[in-house]
Every structure is written in structure tokens, then in C-alpha cells.
């Protein structure tokens, strides 16, 4: 039976299904988008009363202006950018160095090192002991506590290692013959060939750091060091008690605008790296 869109007998059931499926998809897309559209609309809206409108009743960009001009709001934003950039750099550094060493099959003790790293995924000291270590190192209430621990990510190192293993052996052999040191091979051969992996794993780290809230909850109480996510949460929870004169008074648009700002960076970058996710995920599940 050929695929035909018609109501003739034989094709009828199929056609009905396709119509219903289409309606279903439209409903799904709408329900995915409505919350986002509502928040977006309200972020441009100066009215202080709510409604079910999906378009601002009183359009204005005052909320966004406030976010970029009130220090209470742009400081966390800058901190988010800072921790994301340094964290991603460190995360990539550790993943690539670790992965590069772990692919050296003839390195003495390589298997021990691999197990040493991998074991951390199976068992951990727990929330409180880890907190105590960070505290005793004097890192609580500093940005190091949110930058350093998350940069060690075994899963990402694994992905990187898988990628490195696909580099042809012959490249390494010819470098060996030319007497190149490990560092040189790493910088001149491995890294340039890994740009797709660096991009996608870099994105994983970037999203992780930008969205980080958990590490702040545990390690940081100094409000000057808040990143944008924590500040956003504060804005949402303290609805009734906002007292900062630089941000109060614009209705709820500031809260909504803060949500939009908090979600924009990951959402802009991810479409560029879409292809890599699919290969990245299926790499783990279906290894040739």
C-alpha cells in the first residue's frame, strides 16, 4: 500500500492518524512554547497585574535596561560570565590532558590511573565530607569553590578519550619517529584534530557552569559572589520583600526578564553544536 493522503477506503485510517498526529504535534509544540512565550511577553510588560495575555499590555524594555544598569543585577551576570569562561577552560584542560594520557596503551601504570579516575564515579565521600574539605582549604565563599570542583568531570573525560581514540595511529607513529615529545604531539596534533570534540564538550561544560546553582547553595553565602542563577532564585522567592530601590517598582517585568537573560546563552549556542550531541550520546550507547 503506497503512502497516500486520501479518504478513500484503505487509506482512510492512515489519513485520520496523520491528521490526529499533526494536531497532537501542534498541541505539544504549543504547550512547550506557551510558558516561554508568556514569560517573554511579561518581561516586556510594565503592568503590575497579571493576565493570560501572550503579548505585553504595556510594552517597555525597562526591565532589561534595569538588569544591565542596576549593580545588584549586572554584577551576578558578570560573575556568571566569569565563572563560565574560566570553568570551561579548566574543564577542557583537565579533560584533554587526562584523556590524552589515558589513551597511551603502553604507559606503565596506565590502567591503575584509569581505574583511579573512574572509581570516583562509583563511590563518593558524600555531600558533607566534600563540603568539609573545601571549607578546610579555605575556599568556601570564594569563586574557587564553584570553579574548581566541577572542572573535574570524568564523564566528559571519557567522551574526550573516545574521540582521541579515533585519531589514526599512524599520525602518532610518524610523530614518534620524528622524536616529538608528548607535549608537542598533544599541542600540534591531537588538539587541532579535536576541534569538534572541544566544541561540543566545551559546550557541555559551559552549560554546566552557566546553569550552576548547586555549588553555590553549598559553598557560598556571600551575596556579592552570587551568579545570575542564584540571583534569579532570590528574585523569584522574595517577591514580597524586594527592597532594593533600584529594581523594585517595575511590576514583575524584572523577574521575567531575569529568567529570559538566564536562559539565553545556552539556548543560543546549542543549535550550533546540535550534530555533536547526537554523536556524543550515541557514542556512549553504541560503541563500534
Amino acid at each position: 500500500m503506497k503512502e497516500k493522503f486520501s479518504f478513500k477506503p484503505g487509506y482512510r485510517g492512515r489519513t485520520v492518524f496523520r491528521i490526529l498526529n499533526g494536531i497532537f504535534m501542534v498541541l505539544v509544540v504549543i504547550s512547550m512554547l506557551i510558558p516561554l512565550i508568556k514569560i517573554l511577553a511579561d518581561s516586556f510588560d510594565r503592568t503590575t497585574t497579571y493576565g493570560i495575555n501572550l503579548w505585553p499590555k504595556n510594552p517597555s524594555i525597562i526591565a532589561y535596561k534595569t538588569i544591565f544598569s542596576a549593580e545588584a543585577l549586572y554584577r551576578p551576570l558578570l560573575i556568571s560570565f566569569f565563572t563560565t569562561i574560566t570553568g570551561t577552560f579548566l574543564g577542557l584542560l583537565f579533560s584533554t590532558l587526562g584523556a590524552y594520557v589515558l589513551i597511551q596503551n603502553d604507559l606503565v601504570g596506565r590502567n591503575f590511573l584509569a581505574f583511579f579516575i573512574f572509581f570516583t564515579m562509583i563511590f563518593s565521600g558524600g555531600l558533607v565530607p566534600t563540603y568539609l574539605v573545601v571549607k578546610n582549604l579555605g575556599m568556601t565563599n570564594t569563586l574557587w569553590a564553584v570553579i574548581l570542583p566541577p572542572s573535574f568531570n570524568v564523564y566528559n573525560m571519557f567522551l574526550m578519550k573516545n574521540f582521541f581514540e579515533q585519531i589514526p595511529e599512524s599520525l602518532f607513529e610518524s610523530a614518534d619517529i620524528d622524536g616529538a615529545s608528548p607535549m608537542l604531539v598533544f599541542i600540534k596534533i591531537v588538539l587541532p584534530l579535536s576541534l569538534p570534540a572541544l566544541a561540543s564538550i566545551g559546550l557541555f561544560f559551559g552549560v554546566q557552569y552557566w546553569n550552576d546553582f548547586f555549588n553555590y547553595v553549598i559553598y557560598i553565602t556571600n551575596t556579592d559572589l552570587y551568579n545570575f542563577q542564584v540571583k534569579l532564585r532570590e528574585l523569584i522567592l522574595s517577591e514580597q520583600t524586594l527592597t532594593d530601590p533600584s529594581i523594585v517598582g517595575f511590576g514583575n517585568s524584572v523577574r521575567n526578564a531575569a529568567i529570559i537573560v538566564a536562559m539565553i546563552p545556552p539556548m543560543i549556542i546549542y543549535p550550533f553544536c546540535q550534530r555533536f550531541f547526537i554523536t556524543g550520546i550515541t557514542m556512549g550507547a553504541v560503541k563500534e
Partner: protein
């Protein structure tokens, strides 16, 4: 021939060879050092802190009390809240996992029936957008949308003459809402792996079925779904090991009014160990959780190896 002293006896020859290799490769060890140090500082040294599970450890006191902390959480003062948290953890994680697999598989199957590639791709992009939002952002969005004072949903309810419901504070509503929000956020992302698996199904199977007169529905039941079962099992098993770790999603959506239905092991640990600064008790709960989680991870990894091994066609 004079027997000379054997300078190349196996044992000393091997160890000299190994030592020379280590010397030759010293740069690799140097390159690995930062990674090694990070693992030691943030993962292995905390393991020594586990001993505090057997102490009364607060900012004011540090004394050895043996198994008292465990007695406390298993049978004593905190036992009701502890076991409540264990129950919630298992319920929320499992329900979420099972619902998630069903939703993602069904959606992948339906999405696969959209023939227009551009539309299909557009739908996919929109549907896996929420995966990239942080839980803080997600919770913020729904705190506003579900708000009892003028939130979108309650406004619609009021249009129909109903009373506004405070969803996130209401014990009856919290769990369904939590699971729904989680689905809103993660269903799209979950479909990726099933769609990928579907593209690797042999098209000849479908052609043969077509010739035998099977319609699309029968093809789905007898070909597509059975082919997805290994993937489904792997996803299920791999996530089973992480069941006890649920934290951030609950933390941003819960509040004291719904602790009975929402409190999970990690949030309980957080309140005891960090907010109340009872480090000893917090470590004890954490140790229990890490131990069980380790067993789960090891068992489920063994199962996943078996399954992956059996579908090498």
C-alpha cells in the same frame, strides 16, 4: 665457556626496563598530574571524612559515638523523616524514569511518522529546548505560571469559575506537577536516543512486512518496538544507578509545606548536614546513600554489559 654472572636475569632486567620506560615517559605523568591532584583533593580526601559518620560532629563538638548516628536515622528521632525521604526518593526517581521512557518512546514513534523533514526537525528543536534550561530557570518559570495570585494557569481556572489552586504548596498536587514539569523539560532530549536507534533498523524488515500486508500500526508493534527494547533497557538500567542522587530538581521546587511528599535523601542530608550543621549525622546519611548507590551502579552496569553484548548483530 666460563659461566659469567648473569647480569640479565629476568627479574632485575624487567624492573630496569620498567624504570627506564617510566623515565622516558615522565612527561605523560607530568601532564596527568593536575588531573590526579584534582581527583585526590575533591574525591579521595573527602572519603577520609567518612569517619565522621561515627562522630557527633558539630561546630561545637567532635566526639566519637560509634553507631549512634545510624541508630538515630534508622530507628530514632530522625527515623520517620529519614524513611519518608527514602520512600520519596524511590517513588519520585522511579516514576520519573518510567514515565520518561514511555513519554520519550511514544513521542519518538509519533515524531517518526512526520514525513516532512523540515517540520520534523523544527519540532525536535523546539521540544528539546527546555533541556538546556537550568532547574532554577525552570522552577522560576513554573513558579510564575502556577502562581496562585494571577498566574497563567490559575487565571484560566478562574475564567471557568474555579478557585485558584496553589499547586506547589498543595500536597496532593505537588508530585504530579513535579513529574509533569520534569517531562516538559526532558522528554524532547530523551527522544534523541530512540530516534537514533530507529534509523538503524533494517528497512528491509519494513519492506517484507509491507509485502505481507502489514499496515503501519502492525509494523510499529512487531518491528519498531521490539527493535527499541535493547535501547530502552540500557537507558533504564543506566539510570537506575542514579536513582538515589535526585536533588536539584526537587530542591528548587519544594518547600516546607510539602516535605512529606517531596523530601528526598539528598535534600534531607542538605538540611541536616549543612543548614543544621550536624556534620556527623549528615555524613552518616550520605554514607548510607553512597554505599547503596555504589551497589546499584555496580549491579546495573553488569546488567547493561550483558544486554549490550547480546545485540551485536
Amino acid at each position: 665457556m666460563i659461566e659469567s654472572i648473569d647480569l640479565t636475569s629476568k627479574r632485575s632486567y624487567k624492573s630496569r626496563k620498567i624504570l627506564n620506560k617510566i623515565k622516558k615517559d615522565k612527561f605523560y605523568y607530568l601532564m596527568f598530574a593536575p588531573v590526579f591532584i584534582m581527583a585526590v583533593i575533591f574525591h579521595y580526601i573527602p572519603m577520609f571524612g567518612i569517619r565522621y559518620a561515627f562522630y557527633k560532629f558539630t561546630p561545637f563538638k567532635k566526639e566519637f559515638i560509634g553507631l549512634e548516628n545510624f541508630e538515630n536515622i534508622f530507628f530514632g528521632v530522625n527515623s520517620q523523616r529519614f524513611w519518608n525521604a527514602v520512600g520519596n526518593t524511590i517513588y519520585l526517581s522511579l516514576a520519573n524514569l518510567i514515565l520518561g521512557i514511555i513519554a520519550s518512546v511514544v513521542f519518538a514513534l509519533l515524531l517518526n511518522e512526520i514525513y516532512n523533514k523540515k517540520i520534523r526537525s523544527a519540532i525536535q528543536t523546539i521540544v528539546y529546548l527546555p533541556h538546556f534550561l537550568s532547574w532554577v530557570v525552570t522552577a522560576s518559570i513554573f513558579a510564575i505560571i502556577l502562581s496562585p495570585q494571577g498566574g497563567f494557569v490559575n487565571n484560566i481556572l478562574q475564567l471557568f469559575g474555579k478557585e485558584p489552586i496553589n499547586f506547589l504548596i498543595n500536597e496532593k498536587w505537588w508530585r504530579p506537577i513535579f513529574l509533569l514539569i520534569y517531562r516538559w523539560k526532558e522528554t524532547g532530549w530523551g527522544t534523541i536516543i530512540y530516534l537514533a536507534a530507529m534509523t538503524s533498523i533494517n528497512p528491509q524488515l519494513y519492506e517484507a512486512a509491507e509485502i505481507d500486508g502489514a499496515g503501519r500500526w502492525k509494523q510499529t508493534i512487531y518491528i519498531t518496538i521490539p527493535s527499541l527494547i535493547p535501547t530502552i533497557l540500557v537507558v533504564f538500567i543506566l539510570n537506575l544507578g542514579k536513582v538515589l542522587n535526585i536533588f536539584e530538581s526537587v530542591f528548587v521546587l519544594y518547600n516546607p509545606m510539602v516535605y512529606n511528599v517531596a523530601d528526598v535523601i539528598e535534600t534531607f542530608t542538605y538540611r541536616i548536614g549543612m543548614q543544621q550543621a550536624d556534620y556527623g549525622l549528615g555524613t552518616a546519611i550520605g554514607l548510607f546513600k553512597s554505599f547503596i548507590a555504589m551497589i546499584l551502579v555496580l549491579i546495573t552496569n553488569k546488567f547493561s554489559k550483558r544486554i549490550k553484548g547480546s545485540d551485536i548483530l
